[in-house]
């Protein structure tokens, strides 16, 4: 039976450093895809992904093996990609205040046609993703392309679970505006 990411991470922490390569293999494609979508296929994504693995190795002793490895490494990736976006942007605010996190929101329950909607959305994401703000692009990528749940996205972005739902809702609405009748 294949070892879980967390089991491998634990063995790396205990000194079997060569096993870190297994984690690199498992996550390199995902992180490249995430980076290319998030940074709109920037040339430096490969360098950034390499930095993510280096930082993951350097900091792996801070990983709590009782929790899931995936949100932990995606959090590092998120920070690296956000830093890359800030470096690229001419304007850069030190304090990124986000009104979505200000008020408590109720998480919207999934509706019966959610699955159909997801399929349609997934199909149109590729074409229109780069037209969305990074704030809305990122939860869409994590939810639809990386198949993460709200809680994992909440841990990666460090925002309330309900805010994940709000951002996804707004991102879907924005996509609908952009793509017109091709979705929903």
């Amino acid at each position: 039976m294949q070892e879980t990411d967390e089991e491998i991470a634990l063995r790396v922490q205990k000194g079997e450093t060569e096993l870190f390569g297994e984690l690199v293999e498992r996550y390199q494609t995902k992180l490249l895809r995430y980076g290319r979508k998030f940074l709109s296929d920037s040339d430096d994504v490969k360098d950034i992904v390499q930095d993510i693995f280096i930082k993951s190795y350097q900091n792996i002793q801070s990983f709590d093996t009782s929790r899931r490895f995936s949100p932990w490494i995606y959090r590092i990736a998120h920070n690296e990609y956000v830093n890359a976006l800030k470096r690229r942007a001419a304007r850069h605010t030190v304090f990124d205040f986000d009104i979505d996190t200000l008020l408590p929101h109720l998480a919207a329950p999934d509706t019966a046609d959610s699955a159909t909607m997801e399929r349609d959305l997934r199909a149109t994401l590729e074409a229109h993703l780069d037209k969305l703000d990074a704030k809305y692009r990122e939860p869409l990528i994590l939810y639809y392309l990386e198949s993460m749940d709200y809680k994992e996205i909440s841990d990666i972005l460090q925002i309330p679970v309900s805010t994940v739902g709000v951002r996804l809702g707004r991102a879907r609405a924005r996509l609908k505006e952009i793509a017109g009748d091709t979705i929903i």
Partner: protein, 240 residues
């Protein structure tokens, strides 16, 4: 570049050569402990500042002014050092930014966590103000055993009040009201109690009572809008 192999090769070669090192666990334990201790000290410092504010308002009498109704509340708010209150608000926001890295904080909305922090600082500060800490430090300051800055902070008179709040000790009662001694000098002030004077705890004043008065002063006469005895101050007075 073949993505499937290049990352693994590149990273593992650097690990093997020792050009990238795994930071030891104690490094993260130390960092998170220092951070948590720093946050705790910051939180306690804010509670201390709030408790000091409550203590000063208590000592100046402004704390009791709201018992006289709307005008009392107005006097109370005028007594507040708003720059310090604003600064405390800013520090609570800074504290929020610091603790937002913890999952039990970022999983809450910003408004909820800021309100909880404000409540914690206010209630914590109020709780500390109810302990003998500040009174004890005031006594130490009086005996000159505190370092200069702290000593100056705790040296009366505590002037944290608006110009219509007064306190003193009754030296005599008259047909118009009472005569009270000003604690800062040896002068006395006549306090006129009229039909509109608010007496939330009655008018049974006797010489020796410490009172708080809200009213308009004209030389050594105060037309009292509200007057009340301040309870539980005898012990403190005898200490002073």
């Amino acid at each position: 570049m073949n993505d499937d192999t290049s990352f693994k090769q590149s990273v593992m070669q650097r690990i093997a050569k020792g050009s990238i090192q795994m930071r030891p666990r104690w490094h993260f334990v130390l960092l998170s402990t220092l951070f948590a201790v720093g946050v705790l000290i910051f939180l306690l410092a804010l509670m201390y500042a709030v408790s000091l504010l409550v203590f000063f308002l208590h000592q100046s009498g402004a704390w009791f002014a709201p018992s006289f109704g709307a005008r009392g509340w107005f006097s109370f708010f005028r007594s507040l050092p708003w720059l310090l209150v604003l600064l405390l608000g800013v520090f609570v926001i800074v504290l929020e930014v610091l603790v937002r890295r913890y999952s039990f904080v970022y999983k809450k909305s910003l408004l909820t966590s800021v309100l909880v922090l404000f409540a914690a600082v206010l209630f914590g500060g109020f709780a500390v103000s109810q302990t003998p800490l500040h009174r004890q430090l005031t006594l130490f300051a009086r005996h000159g055993v505190l370092p200069p800055f702290i000593g100056d902070l705790y040296r009366p008179p505590f002037r944290l009040r608006s110009d219509d709040v007064f306190d003193g000790v009754i030296v005599a009662t008259t047909s118009h009201g009472v005569v009270m001694s000003d604690e800062e000098d040896d002068a006395t002030t006549s306090v006129i109690i009229g039909p509109h004077t608010r007496l939330p705890y009655g008018a049974n004043f006797t010489p020796g009572d410490r009172i708080i008065v809200v009213g308009d002063r004209d030389d050594d006469v105060i037309e009292a809008f509200g007057i009340r005895e301040v309870e539980n101050e005898e012990e403190y007075e005898s200490e002073r």
